[in-house]
Amino acid sequence: MMLKRFSWHQRLAHFVGSVSGMMLLITGLPIMFPEHLGWVFGIFGGSTVTMFLHRVFAVILIFSFAYFGTYFVLERIVRGRGDSNIKNFGLSAEFISEVVAGAVRDILWTLGLRRERPKFGKYDWIMVSDIYLLPVLAFIEIITGTIMWFPRSFDFVTSNPGLFFVVRTIHAGVAFFLLLFVLAHAGILHLTPGNFPINMSIFSGKISRRKAEVEHEKWVEVAEEVEGEEKKSSSKLCYVFGAITIVNLIALAYVPFAMRNEWLAGLRVSGDGIVTFALGLGVVTLIVYVIASVIAFVKGIKS
Protein backbone atom coordinates (compact mmCIF):
# COMPACT_ATOMS: atom_id res chain seq x y z
CA MET A 1 0.00 0.00 0.00
CA MET A 2 1.25 3.47 -0.92
CA LEU A 3 0.74 6.90 0.67
CA LYS A 4 0.75 10.30 -1.02
CA ARG A 5 3.97 11.91 0.17
CA PHE A 6 4.50 14.94 -2.09
CA SER A 7 2.22 17.12 -4.22
CA TRP A 8 2.84 17.73 -7.92
CA HIS A 9 4.14 21.23 -7.14
CA GLN A 10 6.58 19.91 -4.52
CA ARG A 11 7.94 17.34 -6.99
CA LEU A 12 8.26 19.92 -9.74
CA ALA A 13 9.93 22.43 -7.39
CA HIS A 14 12.46 19.80 -6.30
CA PHE A 15 13.18 18.79 -9.89
CA VAL A 16 13.55 22.29 -11.39
CA GLY A 17 15.41 23.67 -8.37
CA SER A 18 17.81 20.74 -8.06
CA VAL A 19 18.62 20.38 -11.78
CA SER A 20 19.14 24.13 -12.28
CA GLY A 21 21.11 24.34 -9.01
CA MET A 22 23.37 21.43 -9.94
CA MET A 23 23.90 22.85 -13.44
CA LEU A 24 24.85 26.18 -11.85
CA LEU A 25 27.45 24.38 -9.74
CA ILE A 26 28.78 22.44 -12.74
CA THR A 27 29.11 25.60 -14.86
CA GLY A 28 30.20 27.90 -12.00
CA LEU A 29 32.75 25.93 -9.96
CA PRO A 30 35.33 25.88 -12.82
CA ILE A 31 35.61 29.67 -12.42
CA MET A 32 36.62 29.28 -8.79
CA PHE A 33 38.87 26.29 -9.53
CA PRO A 34 40.08 26.76 -13.14
CA GLU A 35 43.26 24.75 -12.58
CA HIS A 36 41.32 21.69 -11.36
CA LEU A 37 38.05 21.93 -13.28
CA GLY A 38 39.15 23.56 -16.53
CA TRP A 39 38.03 20.43 -18.41
CA VAL A 40 34.39 21.36 -17.70
CA PHE A 41 34.72 24.33 -20.09
CA GLY A 42 35.75 21.85 -22.78
CA ILE A 43 32.56 19.78 -22.29
CA PHE A 44 30.35 22.81 -22.98
CA GLY A 45 32.43 24.18 -25.85
CA GLY A 46 34.55 26.80 -24.10
CA SER A 47 34.35 29.31 -21.26
CA THR A 48 32.11 31.78 -23.12
CA VAL A 49 29.37 29.20 -23.75
CA THR A 50 29.75 27.85 -20.18
CA MET A 51 29.24 31.32 -18.72
CA PHE A 52 26.24 31.90 -20.95
CA LEU A 53 24.76 28.59 -19.74
CA HIS A 54 25.47 29.65 -16.15
CA ARG A 55 23.25 32.69 -16.71
CA VAL A 56 20.54 30.62 -18.42
CA PHE A 57 20.37 28.22 -15.45
CA ALA A 58 20.43 31.21 -13.10
CA VAL A 59 17.30 32.53 -14.83
CA ILE A 60 15.63 29.10 -14.40
CA LEU A 61 16.59 29.03 -10.70
CA ILE A 62 15.28 32.56 -10.14
CA PHE A 63 12.01 31.64 -11.85
CA SER A 64 11.69 28.51 -9.73
CA PHE A 65 12.56 30.44 -6.55
CA ALA A 66 10.00 33.20 -7.22
CA TYR A 67 7.25 30.93 -8.60
CA PHE A 68 7.40 28.07 -6.09
CA GLY A 69 8.22 30.39 -3.17
CA THR A 70 5.08 32.44 -3.86
CA TYR A 71 3.01 29.31 -4.58
CA PHE A 72 3.92 27.51 -1.35
CA VAL A 73 3.41 30.60 0.84
CA LEU A 74 0.00 31.33 -0.72
CA GLU A 75 -1.00 27.66 -0.57
CA ARG A 76 -0.14 27.55 3.12
CA ILE A 77 -2.16 30.73 3.83
CA VAL A 78 -5.20 29.58 1.83
CA ARG A 79 -5.27 25.84 2.61
CA GLY A 80 -3.47 25.59 5.92
CA ARG A 81 -0.70 23.13 6.68
CA GLY A 82 -2.56 19.96 5.64
CA ASP A 83 -0.58 16.86 6.62
CA SER A 84 2.66 18.80 7.20
CA ASN A 85 4.12 19.01 10.72
CA ILE A 86 5.73 22.41 10.04
CA LYS A 87 3.73 24.81 12.22
CA ASN A 88 3.52 28.62 11.80
CA PHE A 89 5.84 28.56 8.77
CA GLY A 90 8.46 27.00 11.04
CA LEU A 91 9.03 30.33 12.76
CA SER A 92 7.62 29.66 16.23
CA ALA A 93 9.92 28.98 19.18
CA GLU A 94 7.83 25.89 19.97
CA PHE A 95 8.44 24.36 16.54
CA ILE A 96 12.15 25.23 16.50
CA SER A 97 12.68 23.66 19.92
CA GLU A 98 10.73 20.58 18.75
CA VAL A 99 13.07 20.25 15.74
CA VAL A 100 16.22 20.69 17.85
CA ALA A 101 15.01 18.16 20.43
CA GLY A 102 14.14 15.73 17.61
CA ALA A 103 17.65 16.13 16.16
CA VAL A 104 19.37 15.48 19.48
CA ARG A 105 17.20 12.42 20.28
CA ASP A 106 17.61 11.05 16.75
CA ILE A 107 21.42 11.36 16.84
CA LEU A 108 21.50 9.78 20.32
CA TRP A 109 19.43 6.86 19.02
CA THR A 110 21.72 6.48 16.01
CA LEU A 111 24.77 6.38 18.27
CA GLY A 112 23.12 3.76 20.49
CA LEU A 113 22.74 6.18 23.43
CA ARG A 114 18.94 6.07 23.43
CA ARG A 115 16.64 3.05 23.17
CA GLU A 116 13.72 4.35 21.16
CA ARG A 117 13.94 6.38 18.00
CA PRO A 118 11.88 9.58 18.28
CA LYS A 119 8.66 9.60 16.26
CA PHE A 120 8.54 12.09 13.43
CA GLY A 121 5.76 13.70 11.42
CA LYS A 122 5.90 14.24 7.66
CA TYR A 123 9.28 15.97 7.83
CA ASP A 124 11.99 14.91 10.27
CA TRP A 125 14.58 17.38 11.60
CA ILE A 126 17.03 16.92 8.72
CA MET A 127 14.29 17.46 6.12
CA VAL A 128 13.12 20.61 7.95
CA SER A 129 16.74 21.85 7.93
CA ASP A 130 16.94 21.15 4.17
CA ILE A 131 13.62 22.92 3.50
CA TYR A 132 14.81 26.10 5.26
CA LEU A 133 18.55 26.10 4.57
CA LEU A 134 18.39 25.57 0.82
CA PRO A 135 16.16 28.55 -0.05
CA VAL A 136 18.30 30.78 2.20
CA LEU A 137 21.49 29.69 0.41
CA ALA A 138 19.80 29.99 -2.99
CA PHE A 139 18.67 33.51 -2.07
CA ILE A 140 22.25 34.51 -1.12
CA GLU A 141 23.45 33.12 -4.47
CA ILE A 142 20.72 34.97 -6.39
CA ILE A 143 21.50 38.30 -4.68
CA THR A 144 25.30 38.02 -5.01
CA GLY A 145 24.96 36.64 -8.55
CA THR A 146 22.72 39.56 -9.50
CA ILE A 147 25.25 42.07 -8.16
CA MET A 148 28.02 40.42 -10.21
CA TRP A 149 25.78 40.26 -13.28
CA PHE A 150 24.76 43.95 -13.09
CA PRO A 151 27.55 45.60 -11.06
CA ARG A 152 26.86 49.01 -12.57
CA SER A 153 23.37 48.98 -11.08
CA PHE A 154 24.70 48.89 -7.53
CA ASP A 155 26.06 52.13 -6.06
CA PHE A 156 28.30 50.44 -3.52
CA VAL A 157 30.18 48.68 -6.35
CA THR A 158 30.46 51.71 -8.62
CA SER A 159 31.77 53.82 -5.74
CA ASN A 160 34.26 51.14 -4.68
CA PRO A 161 35.05 48.41 -7.28
CA GLY A 162 36.93 46.43 -4.62
CA LEU A 163 33.63 45.44 -3.01
CA PHE A 164 32.78 43.48 -6.14
CA PHE A 165 35.37 40.95 -5.01
CA VAL A 166 33.77 40.63 -1.56
CA VAL A 167 30.53 39.69 -3.29
CA ARG A 168 32.39 37.21 -5.48
CA THR A 169 34.03 35.54 -2.47
CA ILE A 170 30.62 35.10 -0.78
CA HIS A 171 29.08 33.75 -4.03
CA ALA A 172 31.93 31.26 -4.53
CA GLY A 173 32.03 30.23 -0.85
CA VAL A 174 28.31 29.47 -0.72
CA ALA A 175 28.61 27.58 -4.03
CA PHE A 176 31.34 25.39 -2.58
CA PHE A 177 29.19 24.70 0.49
CA LEU A 178 26.27 23.84 -1.82
CA LEU A 179 28.47 21.22 -3.51
CA LEU A 180 29.01 19.61 -0.09
CA PHE A 181 25.30 19.97 0.65
CA VAL A 182 24.14 18.25 -2.56
CA LEU A 183 26.56 15.34 -2.14
CA ALA A 184 25.58 14.88 1.52
CA HIS A 185 21.86 15.20 0.76
CA ALA A 186 22.00 12.61 -2.03
CA GLY A 187 24.30 10.35 -0.03
CA ILE A 188 21.87 10.31 2.90
CA LEU A 189 18.53 10.20 1.08
CA HIS A 190 19.32 8.20 -2.06
CA LEU A 191 22.43 6.07 -1.55
CA THR A 192 21.45 4.58 1.82
CA PRO A 193 20.21 1.00 2.35
CA GLY A 194 16.51 0.80 1.47
CA ASN A 195 16.70 3.88 -0.78
CA PHE A 196 19.49 2.96 -3.23
CA PRO A 197 19.85 3.61 -6.16
CA ILE A 198 17.27 6.39 -5.92
CA ASN A 199 14.59 7.31 -3.43
CA MET A 200 11.65 7.72 -5.80
CA SER A 201 9.25 9.37 -3.35
CA ILE A 202 10.26 12.93 -4.36
CA PHE A 203 9.85 11.98 -8.05
CA SER A 204 6.68 9.83 -7.92
CA GLY A 205 5.13 11.59 -4.92
CA LYS A 206 4.45 8.23 -3.22
CA ILE A 207 5.97 6.25 -0.37
CA SER A 208 5.15 2.74 0.81
CA ARG A 209 3.12 2.55 4.02
CA ARG A 210 5.64 0.08 5.45
CA LYS A 211 8.53 2.54 4.97
CA ALA A 212 6.49 5.50 6.20
CA GLU A 213 5.52 3.62 9.38
CA VAL A 214 9.19 3.33 10.31
CA GLU A 215 10.43 6.73 9.13
CA HIS A 216 7.43 9.07 9.60
CA GLU A 217 5.29 7.29 12.17
CA LYS A 218 3.26 10.31 13.30
CA TRP A 219 2.41 11.27 9.71
CA VAL A 220 0.97 7.89 8.61
CA GLU A 221 -2.36 8.42 10.40
CA VAL A 222 -3.08 11.67 8.50
CA ALA A 223 -1.58 10.60 5.14
CA GLU A 224 -3.74 9.96 2.09
CA GLU A 225 -3.71 6.46 0.59
CA VAL A 226 -3.02 6.18 -3.15
CA GLU A 227 -2.62 3.43 -5.70
CA GLY A 228 0.80 2.15 -6.58
CA GLU A 229 3.23 -0.66 -6.22
CA GLU A 230 6.07 -0.80 -3.76
CA LYS A 231 9.50 -1.58 -5.16
CA LYS A 232 11.93 -2.97 -2.61
CA SER A 233 15.61 -2.20 -2.88
CA SER A 234 18.14 -4.55 -1.33
CA SER A 235 21.30 -4.03 -3.40
CA LYS A 236 24.54 -4.16 -1.44
CA LEU A 237 26.03 -1.74 -3.97
CA CYS A 238 24.63 1.08 -1.82
CA TYR A 239 27.59 0.60 0.55
CA VAL A 240 30.08 1.06 -2.30
CA PHE A 241 28.42 4.27 -3.50
CA GLY A 242 27.91 5.44 0.08
CA ALA A 243 31.63 4.94 0.76
CA ILE A 244 32.56 6.80 -2.45
CA THR A 245 30.38 9.75 -1.37
CA ILE A 246 31.91 9.86 2.10
CA VAL A 247 35.46 9.67 0.68
CA ASN A 248 34.55 12.48 -1.73
CA LEU A 249 33.16 14.59 1.13
CA ILE A 250 36.28 14.03 3.25
CA ALA A 251 38.48 15.08 0.31
CA LEU A 252 36.25 18.13 -0.30
CA ALA A 253 36.42 19.05 3.39
CA TYR A 254 40.20 19.24 2.92
CA VAL A 255 39.87 21.81 0.08
CA PRO A 256 39.21 24.90 2.31
CA PHE A 257 42.37 24.04 4.28
CA ALA A 258 44.34 24.21 1.01
CA MET A 259 42.83 27.59 0.08
CA ARG A 260 45.03 30.67 0.15
CA ASN A 261 43.84 34.21 0.68
CA GLU A 262 44.94 36.05 -2.46
CA TRP A 263 43.34 39.41 -1.65
CA LEU A 264 41.28 40.72 -4.56
CA ALA A 265 41.72 37.44 -6.45
CA GLY A 266 39.76 35.73 -3.67
CA LEU A 267 40.41 32.28 -2.25
CA ARG A 268 42.69 30.30 -4.54
CA VAL A 269 43.92 26.72 -4.48
CA SER A 270 47.06 25.62 -6.28
CA GLY A 271 47.57 22.29 -8.03
CA ASP A 272 47.07 19.57 -5.45
CA GLY A 273 46.24 15.91 -6.07
CA ILE A 274 43.60 15.65 -3.35
CA VAL A 275 41.89 18.89 -4.45
CA THR A 276 41.85 17.79 -8.09
CA PHE A 277 40.42 14.39 -7.11
CA ALA A 278 37.81 15.89 -4.75
CA LEU A 279 36.53 18.54 -7.16
CA GLY A 280 36.70 16.30 -10.23
CA LEU A 281 34.75 13.49 -8.54
CA GLY A 282 32.30 16.02 -7.10
CA VAL A 283 31.51 17.54 -10.49
CA VAL A 284 31.30 14.13 -12.23
CA THR A 285 28.86 13.04 -9.49
CA LEU A 286 26.77 16.17 -10.11
CA ILE A 287 26.61 15.36 -13.84
CA VAL A 288 25.43 11.82 -12.99
CA TYR A 289 22.83 13.25 -10.57
CA VAL A 290 21.46 15.63 -13.22
CA ILE A 291 21.00 12.73 -15.66
CA ALA A 292 19.51 10.51 -12.91
CA SER A 293 17.11 13.30 -11.86
CA VAL A 294 15.78 13.69 -15.40
CA ILE A 295 15.27 9.92 -15.79
CA ALA A 296 13.64 9.61 -12.35
CA PHE A 297 11.35 12.60 -12.98
CA VAL A 298 10.11 11.09 -16.27
CA LYS A 299 9.61 7.71 -14.55
CA GLY A 300 7.81 9.47 -11.69
CA ILE A 301 5.34 11.10 -14.09
CA LYS A 302 4.58 7.72 -15.68
CA SER A 303 4.08 5.91 -12.34
Binding site: T48, M51, R55, V56, A58, V59, I62, F63, F65, A66, Y67, T70, L74, E75, R79, I107, W109, T110, R117, I126, W149, F150, P151, R152, V157, N160, P161, G162, L163, F165, V166, T169, G173, F176, F177, L180, A184, G187, I188, L191, T192, P193, G194, V214, G242, T245, I246, L249, I250, A253, Y254, V255, P256, F257, M259, N261, W263, L264, G266, L267
Partner: protein, 95 residues
Protein backbone atom coordinates in the same frame (compact mmCIF):
# COMPACT_ATOMS: atom_id res chain seq x y z
CA UNK B 1 -8.53 28.71 -5.80
CA UNK B 2 -5.68 26.52 -6.99
CA UNK B 3 -5.67 28.23 -10.39
CA UNK B 4 -5.65 31.66 -8.75
CA UNK B 5 -2.59 30.70 -6.68
CA UNK B 6 -0.81 29.43 -9.81
CA UNK B 7 -1.68 32.65 -11.67
CA UNK B 8 -0.43 34.94 -8.87
CA UNK B 9 2.78 32.89 -8.46
CA UNK B 10 3.36 32.97 -12.21
CA UNK B 11 2.96 36.76 -12.39
CA UNK B 12 5.36 37.23 -9.44
CA UNK B 13 7.91 34.96 -11.16
CA UNK B 14 7.62 36.87 -14.45
CA UNK B 15 8.14 40.20 -12.69
CA UNK B 16 11.17 38.77 -10.85
CA UNK B 17 12.61 37.47 -14.11
CA UNK B 18 12.10 40.55 -16.25
CA UNK B 19 15.38 42.37 -15.48
CA UNK B 20 17.41 39.21 -16.06
CA UNK B 21 15.79 38.11 -19.32
CA UNK B 22 15.83 41.60 -20.80
CA UNK B 23 19.55 41.91 -20.03
CA UNK B 24 20.73 38.36 -20.63
CA UNK B 25 22.86 39.35 -23.60
CA UNK B 26 23.51 43.06 -22.99
CA UNK B 27 24.81 42.74 -19.44
CA UNK B 28 26.77 39.54 -19.83
CA UNK B 29 30.51 39.22 -19.99
CA UNK B 30 29.97 37.89 -23.51
CA UNK B 31 29.59 41.49 -24.61
CA UNK B 32 32.89 42.59 -23.15
CA UNK B 33 33.47 45.23 -20.48
CA UNK B 34 30.81 45.01 -17.80
CA UNK B 35 32.79 45.04 -14.58
CA UNK B 36 33.29 48.45 -13.08
CA UNK B 37 36.96 49.37 -13.40
CA UNK B 38 39.39 51.11 -11.07
CA UNK B 39 40.26 53.50 -13.90
CA UNK B 40 36.72 54.87 -13.68
CA UNK B 41 37.38 56.08 -10.10
CA UNK B 42 38.89 59.60 -9.81
CA UNK B 43 42.63 59.28 -9.34
CA UNK B 44 42.66 61.21 -6.04
CA UNK B 45 40.27 58.65 -4.42
CA UNK B 46 41.66 55.52 -6.02
CA UNK B 47 44.54 54.79 -3.61
CA UNK B 48 42.47 55.15 -0.44
CA UNK B 49 39.58 53.11 -1.84
CA UNK B 50 41.93 50.38 -3.03
CA UNK B 51 43.50 50.08 0.42
CA UNK B 52 40.12 50.04 2.14
CA UNK B 53 38.68 47.42 -0.15
CA UNK B 54 41.82 45.31 0.18
CA UNK B 55 41.27 45.23 3.95
CA UNK B 56 37.57 44.36 3.56
CA UNK B 57 38.23 41.65 0.96
CA UNK B 58 40.96 40.10 3.13
CA UNK B 59 38.58 39.97 6.12
CA UNK B 60 35.84 38.34 4.05
CA UNK B 61 38.26 35.88 2.42
CA UNK B 62 39.50 34.78 5.85
CA UNK B 63 35.97 34.54 7.27
CA UNK B 64 34.69 32.49 4.32
CA UNK B 65 37.73 30.18 4.52
CA UNK B 66 37.17 29.50 8.24
CA UNK B 67 33.41 28.96 7.71
CA UNK B 68 34.11 26.49 4.90
CA UNK B 69 36.66 24.61 7.02
CA UNK B 70 34.10 24.23 9.83
CA UNK B 71 31.24 23.43 7.41
CA UNK B 72 33.28 20.74 5.65
CA UNK B 73 34.04 18.88 8.88
CA UNK B 74 30.42 19.28 10.05
CA UNK B 75 29.01 17.91 6.77
CA UNK B 76 31.30 14.87 6.84
CA UNK B 77 30.37 14.00 10.45
CA UNK B 78 26.64 14.53 9.82
CA UNK B 79 26.70 12.42 6.64
CA UNK B 80 28.43 9.51 8.38
CA UNK B 81 25.93 9.65 11.27
CA UNK B 82 22.91 9.93 8.96
CA UNK B 83 24.15 7.13 6.70
CA UNK B 84 24.48 4.88 9.72
CA UNK B 85 21.02 5.95 10.89
CA UNK B 86 19.45 4.81 7.60
CA UNK B 87 21.38 1.56 7.89
CA UNK B 88 19.79 1.01 11.33
CA UNK B 89 16.34 2.03 10.07
CA UNK B 90 16.62 -0.33 7.11
CA UNK B 91 17.58 -3.16 9.45
CA UNK B 92 14.40 -2.44 11.47
CA UNK B 93 12.30 -2.34 8.29
CA UNK B 94 13.65 -5.68 7.09
CA UNK B 95 13.13 -7.30 10.49
Amino acid sequence: MSRAIVAVAFVVALIALYPYVSNISTASSLKGSYVFKWSEIPIEKRGTLYEESLKTVTKFNNAVKVLLEIAGIFVVILTVIEYYKYYKIHKEEVE
